[in-house]
Symmetry: C2
């Protein structure tokens, strides 16, 4: 509503709007991991009915950004170490495949990646850490795009959103993002040159280091609760593992 009135194209439903707003707040850090999402308060704040809000929460839960425990309500997802590992395992599968396939990819794919990498470098220079994180994710998203599948793109998008959230908990952005622009650049250049084996090797190291960093940060954050959480403490609270039907 108060967004940009330029394009009247999209007439989002109330639910969709709420999903967007909440997703935005979660990813941008306004809503910290573990924070409770009380139905009435959020609903009145966003000026929608409790029913609509509930739909939105359900959707966000299915995106993996929110957890819902029966009769106890919803809260911003706080990832466990094992979940973070799962996310990286998934990334490895997809990105390695993408790196391999990128050797025969269209040139336009590379310009998309290049754009993201350049953005990341600028952001790091300017010390806009959150921005830097986003750019990095965009680079990897562009990498996945070479696989040419909508479904995969969409899936990867939700995956990275989860990772973004995990980052949010694990540490302060600066220490977290500093120095990664160079590694993104390195990886990108190898990909562009079509050096499969090398690309994959570098990629695996990249992911391994990144994973370790997140896990360390998470461990540290859990050990010494950074700062008072908005509501529900994110401390010893076992974040209610969602039923893992598979695996």
């Amino acid at each position: 509503m108060t967004q940009d009135g330029s394009e009247p194209a999209e007439a989002l439903s109330a639910t969709d709007r709420v999903v967007d707003v909440l997703r935005g707040r979660i990813l941008e850090g306004t809503l910290s991991p573990g924070a409770a999402l009380r139905e009435t308060s959020v609903a009145t704040e966003l000026d929608v009915s409790r029913n609509t809000l509930r739909e939105a929460l359900r959707l966000l839960t299915s995106e993996g950004l929110v957890t819902q425990a029966p009769n106890k309500g919803a809260s911003v997802k706080a990832f466990t170490a094992s979940e973070v590992r799962d996310i990286y395992r998934t990334r490895r599968v997809l990105e390695v495949q993408a790196a391999t396939e990128s050797a025969v990819a269209d040139e336009s794919r590379f310009t998309a990646m290049e754009t993201a990498v350049a953005a990341k470098e600028r952001a790091e220079q300017a010390r806009l850490w959150r921005e830097a994180g986003t750019a990095s994710l965009r680079f990897h998203q562009a990498l996945i795009a070479v696989l040419g599948s909508c479904r995969l793109n969409e899936f990867f998008r939700t995956l990275l959103a989860q990772l973004r959230l995990a980052w949010a908990e694990s540490c302060d952005e600066e220490r977290f993002q500093r120095g990664w622009a160079a590694r993104d650049r390195e990886l990108f250049e190898l990909l562009r040159q079509g050096l499969r084996a090398q690309s994959v090797g570098v990629l695996l190291l990249y992911l391994e280091d990144s994973e370790r960093q997140v896990l360390d940060g998470l461990r540290r954050a859990r050990a010494a609760p950074h700062q008072a959480r908005t509501e529900t403490g994110a401390h010893g609270v076992a974040p209610l593992e969602h039923t893992p039907r598979g695996e």
Copy 2:
């Protein structure tokens, strides 16, 4: 409610129950592709409120089994050819990787696959075509499991559910399933022997043939509408492409 009362363990919410029931009906074919899901009628039939039903529909939409057009309501998803291709593209990425990795997989993974393949053979023998289809999907699900990622498993599950639905539209089960047990078996044996290159080769052919068959069936079904659809015809009705933000 009238299910099996053996395990009182799971206390599903109303929404979850509705999702399960509808998903079941869609995959089992009771609800054909293109069929309209009128809110009031479905809600009263399942004995829940319209609000609850709406939550369920939203969820099913996010699973890709239902489409919702603004102000026009929900209907069982009818896949386009290009979507089917997208599904297979995704399968290729994941299954090829899984086949590769299966060479170093735990023995227990193979027993899971073996079970599914055997079930498929029995089903084909007994001419239980739908059962056969399910077994085949279970085999491929088990293959993906070697990648060891919950998220990937879950994603693949929804992917195969979509494919199941696409099959439903594309043809009668018999012609569709006959003969595939042998190919599943062939693939499985190669995997078990750890012959990477050969496995991948056979797998790619398998997927290519399967894709072609589905696309042919779909074309045929569209050309000569099999039988009167429950409600909304699934004929020339452009099934309202869901916004493809990515790709």
